[in-house]
Symmetry: C2
Subunit: 659 residues, 2 copies
């Protein structure tokens, strides 16, 4: 249903006014994008976007991602004008102030209707790819009656210039995600000036080369916008709609320049803009008729929602669909019996292999998982449990060949997790967390369950050498708030870590896994669920406890060897497996002190940087690690070279013990 232009103009100007006024009040923010894209956004939200402001979490709503997140006043305006409970006008008045949900950049955990946290450029669009994947996956399972929606993106030149854009659109084009539509705010302006300062690219040709449908429109002509959106909706490829716009449109002296990009327009220019726009209302005032027109646009979505409710109510899969969208695991889901089978028949395997074994169980029990790897399937051991490829021809597959696109993969996983209904996991080498760290951070900030299967931990990777050996990565990932970094020591801990990761509804996990085989150190059938406290005592001291060895992952069995040698010399040594520092830090002081008693010599052993381990060893302790880049050689040679042997470590401990 098209609205007539006479009514659309003030609707769009309401966005412009709110945006310039809010940025002015905060004296901080980005008015240029919301003002430039106000017309496009009005057509999109007013006539195309399927949503119900009274039920922002309706599962079959269209997803809208403001990838150019700095233009946050655009989405705050749209949410308010469309009638979402928040932001209120008071929230908007407090744009960028402490406590307002109208943060500098849109944050999914602050406002319903904000589907993802954006601002780090390029990632919004890349997350939208994941949302569109999740939609197709759920559609393949639950059918058109239940899952049938689009993913819309507003992106700027920055989003398109970032490297991740290449990865994201390559994936979307390959997977023919035809229900994804990107509205590009084609305004020729970046922060530094006009785009020709830094780029000469034919963006449309590039998108076409990557399997996208491309259409252009005048972003200030409502009919032309509709024509382009109709064409995009029709085409079965993902679509780029190049919307030619004037940044800061409406600000008569500054529009079309980078001056409108990231700073308040100033009182004078705002007054001039009010004149030009014919907007004679006070700041933060939207006249009744304009608001009524905006509120009227949502009937379409409300109707669609009620019809959908009716269909779902008779759907035999209703309970399962609702379980999945709620992010709950199936009742009774557990890896206990698998873990007991390991206890009965211990396995000496690499933890990446142990992860594959766990995934064999998980993927069979849990239809929610969608796995994948950035072109290291056989190395990450991520394809397990009989799942088949997710392809343009078959969206029912649950394994994604992401290609050599670590960052794009991680962002797509975030998008899937944000969409809901699926649990994404994906693998690459641990060292390449550096390639996708910005997305891992957004997993944590957005509080989503993305599970990273990061294999080829530390120097155990061996011959590939220092470019491929993550020596600082585990510790530096541990510093990201709200992220669980788990480094299991054997097949049992690996299974426990998988179960922990799956049970985190609101935080992501990184599993740091070995290339090389590790002995199974956990064999007592009655000792279950030990990893969930982050660290636990794997071995008690035999002699009077003098030493506490704290190790993780591939160094746990080494710690056991050290303990054995120490005990032979009459020195009591306990071994603590530090599976996850974050979970351990969350335990009470008593538990922590009991695990790592301050009256023992505390020794950390981890084949990575020692920086940070002092938290657990205290200053009188000993931190065994690797404070340099690795080298290329077989793993065994490297562990020996860098002193990760009981023979090298035990004398250091004996030396350090009070005489």
């Amino acid at each position: 249903m098209s609205l007539d232009t006479a009514r659309l103009v003030p609707m769009a100007n309401a966005i412009r006014a709110l945006s310039m006024d809010a940025v002015q009040a905060a004296n901080s923010g980005h008015p240029g994008m919301p003002m430039g894209m106000a017309d496009v956004a009005t057509v999109l939200w007013g006539e195309y976007l399927k949503h119900d402001p009274k039920a922002p979490d309706w599962a079959d709503r269209d997803r809208f991602v403001l990838s150019a997140g700095h233009g946050s006043m655009l989405i705050y305006s749209l949410l308010h004008l469309s009638g979402y409970a928040r932001p209120t006008m008071e929230d908007i008045r407090n744009f960028r102030q402490l406590g307002s949900p109208c943060a500098g950049h849109p944050e999914n955990f602050l406002l319903e209707g904000v589907e993802s946290t954006t601002g780090p450029l390029g990632q919004g669009l890349a997350m939208a790819v994941g949302m569109a994947m999740a939609e197709r996956s759920l559609n393949a399972t639950f059918g058109n009656d239940t899952v049938d929606h689009r993913t819309w993106v507003i992106a700027g030149d920055g989003c398109l210039m970032e490297g991740i854009n290449h990865e994201a659109i390559g994936l979307a084009g390959h997977l023919k995600l035809g229900r994804m539509i990107v509205l590009w705010d084609d305004n020729n302006i970046t922060i530094d000036g006009t785009t020709d300062l830094s780029t000469s690219e034919d963006i449309k040709a590039r998108y076409e080369a990557t399997g996208w449908h491309v259409v252009s429109c005048d972003g200030h002509d409502f009919d032309d916008i509709r024509r382009a959106l109709d064409e995009a909706v029709e085409d079965d490829r993902p679509s780029l709609v190049a919307c030619k716009t004037v940044i800061g449109k409406g600000a008569p002296n500054k529009q079309g320049t980078s001056a409108t990009h990231g700073a308040a327009l100033g009182e004078e220019e705002i007054a001039a803009a009010r004149d030009v726009l014919g907007w004679d209302h006070a700041p933060f005032e939207v006249p009744e008729d304009v608001l009524a027109d905006w509120r009227g646009t949502t009937a379409r979505g409300e109707t669609a929602h009620s019809e959908w409710d009716v269909r779902l109510s008779t759907n035999p899969d209703k309970a399962e669909f609702e379980r999945r969208m709620a992010g709950d695991l199936p009742e009774g889901f557990s890896l206990d019996s698998y873990i007991q089978s390991l206890m009965a028949e211990p396995q000496k395997v690499a933890t990446r292999k142990a992860s594959e074994m766990a995934l064999g169980q998980i993927n069979a029990m849990l239809p929610d998982t969608i796995g994948g790897s950035a072109d290291l399937t056989g190395s990450n051991n991520t394809k397990a449990g009989g799942i088949g490829p997710f392809t343009a021809d078959d969206y029912s597959g649950r394994y994604v060949y992401y290609g050599i696109r670590e960052f794009g993969m991680a962002a797509a996983m975030n998008g899937m997790a944000l969409h809901g209904g699926v649990i994404p996991y994906g693998g690459t080498f641990l060292v390449f967390t550096d390639y996708c760290r910005a997305a891992i951070r957004l997993s944590a900030l957005q509080q989503v369950r993305s599970i990273y299967v990061m294999t080829h931990d530390s120097i155990g990777l061996g011959e590939d050498g220092p470019t491929h050996q993550p020596v600082e990565h585990v510790q530096s990932l541990r510093m990201i708030p709200n992220l669980l970094v788990m480094r299991p020591a054997d097949a049992v801990e690996t299974a426990e870590c998988w179960e922990i990761a799956l049970r985190q509804k609101d935080r992501p996990s990184v599993l740091a896994l070995t290339r090389q085989g590790l002995p199974q150190v956990r064999n007592a059938p009655d000792e279950t669920d030990m990893s969930s406290k982050g660290a636990y005592r794997l071995k008690k001291a035999g002699n009077a406890a003098k030493v506490t060895l704290i190790a993780s992952g591939s160094e746990v069995h080494l710690a056991l060897e050290c303990a054995e040698q120490l005990e032979k010399q009459g020195v009591g040594a306990s071994v603590v497996s530090m599976v996850c520092t974050q979970l351990f830090d969350e335990q009470d002081a008593e538990y922590r002190a009991e695990m790592i008693p301050a009256d023992t010599l505390r020794v950390s052993i981890e084949a990575g940087t020692t920086f940070g381990w002092e938290r657990y060893t205290g200053e009188g302790g000993l931190t065994i690690g690797l404070d340099r880049f690795g080298a290329s050689a077989p793993a065994g040679d490297l562990f020996a070279k860098f002193g990760f042997t009981a023979d090298a470590i035990v004398p250091q401990i004996m030396n350090k013990l009070p005489k």
Copy 2:
């Protein structure tokens, strides 16, 4: 000069044989790429590449980057066959073994002739862009007689699929780096299988859309390779040469499949390959005539080198050119007098502004610098000292508008630093070190002087909110070996840090700078060069020393306030400015103990994660920090909310002091 095919065939087969035999001996490595690209590489090195194996560091040599670094046996073979002193055949026999310079991936610090450390995909090509930029920059200064060489790259599908490829080629196309030629190993194979598993892109069309010249050839037809290379050399745009090849060419049963990509072929297949190739020599044996043909190819480069020597000897700029290529600063270079001017007239400025002031001095004194920003010029304050833009029309400019390409920028900086003759610096927001962390790591591993100007540190960034607030970044960057992370407290320290960074010939630096103004805490003219020890005592205790406050950057003045309040309560408190933990950790134990005496209560104050600070505070100490994501609000409100005020900190200290 073309060699005839009958001689080229065995020359290429020598590469194939060495590659398959070395990988077999190591039972680890990647034979597929060297075997597939052997013909192309033989034409390139034999007939086009300008180099002199007897003088691998000749300034005007062509640069060759093996971006697909996993195919390292290709470059080891080429270096050996061409007559470089290393690798010897013994080195090659010890491929991937401890101590051999023939590491799993090529490492620039292990072998002359290896221009860059590659393996992390996409970065080699992106570094080559920087090399080509450095070449044009030096050419603009020193002229064709002195600087006139090409940059050649061999890249695989992985390099082209990575996001950084988009950034790198966008920059190269825009800057019209016509002397850069990328040979794409177009073999349709990645680790997971055929490329159509994960991509449907028309790569040639994409390169064309980005301003590149594109030409294709049969990578196993010497004449066709020459035709394509000639065309690429002729064209004034950067060129992509799509070399259609068969991966593992020569291995009769495995060629053309991913089985040859990353594993030894096996004795049987190698024997079969020897038959097919007509190569009846023992492993690691190259017949005299083939070796002689290879060695004969370098006369061309040797002649060019001697002619160049003659030209340089009469060049009035010889000394300056040699100084710059040696990476030395001009004699007498110093910021002392500028620093003294700050002492005389203290400045309350943001450290990003202080960095601009320092750069104003540096860029005027030091023609070596090439600055830039990833589209945040006015925020990073990186354009200073009157330098103009480096553009396709004017390569004499020293300021690069990198566009919204953080990763591409960082890799280009590494390439420039590797090329030599220039000192690259570049800026973005500190939080976006996550976007380019993999390149920062390669700066450190490659031991190059890339200087990162990372502004908008911590919650001082304010309203942009948690997506833009680096709370874990400073600490997590500190974990990268061989990287200096400096967080200066005021204008004086900022200048000192710049001088330290410039004086590091073999390691990169990150400057973490504030958005907000900071008082100048260093005002004593006789206290100079204090930052070079990493940390120093800024204020001595007045009363008997009970507390040592250790702070960095924007928290140093806060530490001084805390000290003042403590002194008023009779508690002696010294303040240590921790400018750079890495430099401090390098000091002797005595200095470290003197700065941070163990008999005081040690308190760290840094507006970031506390994890790691226990190294300096000991376990009885106090770590004041921020172990969560930030929020969107004015900076002052955030510092108050998160407890970064003397009123919030001092009581915690008083509480912790022994009663």
